[in-house]
């Protein structure tokens, strides 16, 4: 039995088939995938959401997750942020020769666990192996297909004046967890990545109210960048309060040490919801019942002042502009 991935594993020949049949296909067995035709073929009707993302995180294993879990959750969350119920997923692996098969197996296991939790089915996939140095251990692309319930209209352009801004939990866990593992920067932190599928949290929120206007997951660029995108897309102002924005003590400490601001650090299991003010409390209450929303809080509101801009009221009572992330030297975090 080989211990590492060889170029021949991606040749399309016998070794490729062996890898597929032994390692890649069995964990994901389902009628659509098992046919092994060139395309997955299925019937569909209704409004679809379709999204794609590539994952190049370094290192591929980090506290609280790995590139496999991230690749499933990231795409599931992109679907969920449109209000879609995730259905089908494609997974493409670009493997650098020399990756340990044991590591690949761990990642496959983690992909399986994440798809199970998110109740999404892998229906097609691909594997390529490239020469050493032409990729960094493993890159994954996933595309996802989901169905949007009728009448639901969630978009970054839908924020309205006086809506409340809800954040689902502590900021910055993913970015700090990954950075703590970065070569040359290794530091010890109890923080684990928050990487998680949020589709069930979203469906519970939608049960509480249909007046959820915007949903977005603050990944790269952090909360600050996400709020700026929403303010610009909806052409409204957003005001948040510093003391309401939650971040773990260890994340805040690491940020101070490294010169970062938790508002700009990536998250992989958090969402921002902009909700009609009359419905915000009931949505919040529902969120708190979900394990991924226990620390949720209302952090601010939409205003007609300063359209396109985000302002934060500081603890000391001053206010400052929160701009998008601009030019920082950050490692590959997703």
């Amino acid at each position: 039995m080989d211990k590492t991935i060889l170029l021949a594993h991606g040749s399309g020949g016998k070794l490729s088939h062996e890898l597929l049949e032994k390692n890649l296909l069995p964990p994901f067995s389902n009628p659509l995938l098992d046919k092994l035709d060139d395309s997955a073929v299925f019937e569909f009707s209704g409004r679809l959401a379709f999204t794609t993302d590539s994952y190049v995180v370094n290192p591929i294993f980090f506290p609280g997750g790995d590139i496999g879990k991230l690749a499933v959750c990231g795409t599931v969350n992109d679907l969920a942020m449109s209000g879609a119920k995730p259905l089908y997923l494609s997974v493409s692996l670009v493997i650098e020769e020399g990756l340990l098969i044991e590591e690949l197996e761990r990642i496959i296991k983690s992909i399986k666990a994440a798809t199970k939790e998110a109740e999404i089915t892998i229906v097609t996939g691909d594997t390529k192996v490239v020469n050493r140095g032409n990729a960094d251990k493993l890159f994954i692309n996933t595309s996802g297909l989901g169905i949007i319930p009728p009448q639901l209209d969630i978009s970054g352009a839908n924020a309205r004046v006086s809506d409340k801004i809800i954040l689902s939990g502590n900021l910055g866990d993913h970015g700090i967890a990954v950075m703590s593992q970065r070569e040359g920067l290794k530091f010890s932190t109890p923080i684990k990545s928050d990487c998680a599928p949020l589709n069930k949290l979203v469906s519970q929120m939608l049960e509480a109210s249909s007046q959820i206007h915007c949903l977005r997951d603050p990944t790269r660029g952090g909360l600050a960048t996400t709020l700026n995108e929403l303010a610009k897309q909806s052409n409204v102002g957003i005001t948040i309060e510093e003391e309401k924005v939650p971040a773990a003590e260890a994340v805040r400490a690491a940020c101070e040490l490294l010169g970062f601001d938790p508002l700009y650090i990536a998250n992989e299991g958090k969402l921002v919801a902009i909700v009609d003010s009359a419905h915000a409390e009931s949505v919040l209450a529902k969120m708190k019942q979900n394990r991924y929303g226990t620390n949720a809080s209302i952090i601010g509101e939409v205003t007609s002042d300063h359209p396109g801009r985000v302002i934060m009221k500081t603890r000391l009572g001053a206010s400052r502009i929160i701009d998008m992330l601009s030019g920082e030297l950050l490692p590959r975090i997703c």
């Binding site: 003590e249 400490a253 500081t314 009572g317 001053a318 502009i321």
Partner: protein, 361 residues
């Protein structure tokens, strides 16, 4: 154990703000020396909280920003040396030199590593004995001891392929140079926190003695800065300028003897080339004769050609405190953190970057 909340305590902060308002009766112009201070002041909105008659100016305390183009060009040119690895602090990567930047050189194939400490650079030298490894030594008295330590460590370990550019600079001489220029009338100086942790507060005694204004050394948390402003206002109102420390958990009057000894073992004092101020005598650190074999400028033949200043950029005037970032025609329009024209927009300690990021609204 907590390290942040104590220094951001809202109750104490409000008390200090109230006291500053109570004490302050006359216009006062303060210069915060450090870029780190500028960033903290804007990030916590401190300018809005203090009386309007107190004016805050940014000073030259950003190591990346004060590095002259002539020196930066040397560093960029050295990336073309055969079989050479360049190591640098990350902030330097994007600074535009006369013709290129380190980032650009890297994209074109130069072997450049961003490091977090000089010891990492030394390790790269040890791991790559067949290459020359050059560290771009920028900074003030804060980074100088660590660079000195790496030189001594290279000697101890017998590492023969490690070199540095010493563009290191000293704080008290540049404060003196700014006060001598007399372009701006200052009533007090918010003294550098980290630099003073190394050199102590005694080297600033000339400020009240010769220029009749106070210097209060500050940390970088909101309470540190408010306390510092409070002390400066008290001095101004009482007409009793002096050197004080508002950062006692880190700074002692005599500084850090061990770090100073390291620095003095390896470096001697020489002139330095400052962006915006030109050459200032006795304001830089140069490798002593016995450590010349580590001196990249001495060992390698590097000719970057004459430096060129970017057109329209007023970084030099901003570093002297005579202009605000928002007074620059390029600010936000052409010069942004993504497309910086001058270094003050690049560094996380740069005044322009801080004004861009945290805006004054």
């Amino acid at each position: 154990m907590k390290f942040i909340d104590e220094y951001r305590n809202v109750e104490l902060g409000k008390k200090l703000i109230a006291r500053i308002h109570q004490r302050s009766t006359q216009p006062a112009r303060l210069m915060e020396f450090c870029g780190g201070h500028t960033t903290a002041i804007l990030r916590h909105g401190i300018r809005q909280l203090i009386p309007q008659n107190i004016d805050m100016l940014s000073g030259p305390g950003c190591p990346v920003c004060v590095t002259a183009n002539a020196d930066l060009d040397k560093a960029i040119a050295s990336t073309h040396l055969p079989n050479t690895i360049i190591t640098t602090f990350g902030d330097m990567m994007k600074v535009p030199g006369s013709h290129s930047s380190l980032q650009q050189a890297k994209a074109e194939g130069a072997d450049i590593h961003v490091v977090y400490s000089t010891q990492d650079a030394l390790q790269i030298a040890q791991d790559n004995p067949q290459s020359s490894v050059i560290f771009i030594g920028i900074g003030f008295e804060t980074t100088a001891p660590t660079i000195a330590a790496s030189i001594l460590e290279a000697e101890r370990r017998g590492i023969k392929n490690f070199y540095i550019f010493s563009f290191l600079k000293l704080c008290p001489p540049v404060i003196k140079a700014i006060l001598n220029l007399g372009e701006i009338k200052l009533n007090g100086i918010i003294g550098p926190g980290h630099v003073s942790t190394i050199i102590g507060s005694l080297p600033y005694e000339f400020i009240p003695r010769e220029y009749g204004i106070g210097c209060v050394i500050s940390g970088f948390e909101p309470l540190d800065i408010l306390l510092c402003i409070d002390k400066l206002v008290e001095q101004i109102e009482g007409e009793q300028p002096q050197v004080e420390i508002a950062y006692r958990r880190s700074v002692k009057p005599e500084g850090n003897r061990q770090a100073l000894d390291l620095m003095n073992e390896v470096f001697g004092i020489g002139e330095a080339n400052w962006r915006g101020m030109g050459t200032i005598p006795a304001s830089g650190l140069k490798l002593k004769r016995k450590y010349q074999r580590f001196n990249a400028e001495q060992i390698f033949s590097i000719d970057p050609g004459p430096p060129r200043e970017p057109k329209g950029c007023i970084c030099g005037e901003i570093l002297r405190g005579i202009k605000m970032p928002t007074e620059c025609k390029l600010f936000r329009r052409i010069c942004t953190p993504e497309h910086p024209v001058g270094p003050c927009m690049v560094s996380s300690e740069g005044a322009c970057a801080a004004y861009y990021q945290y805006g004054a609204n």
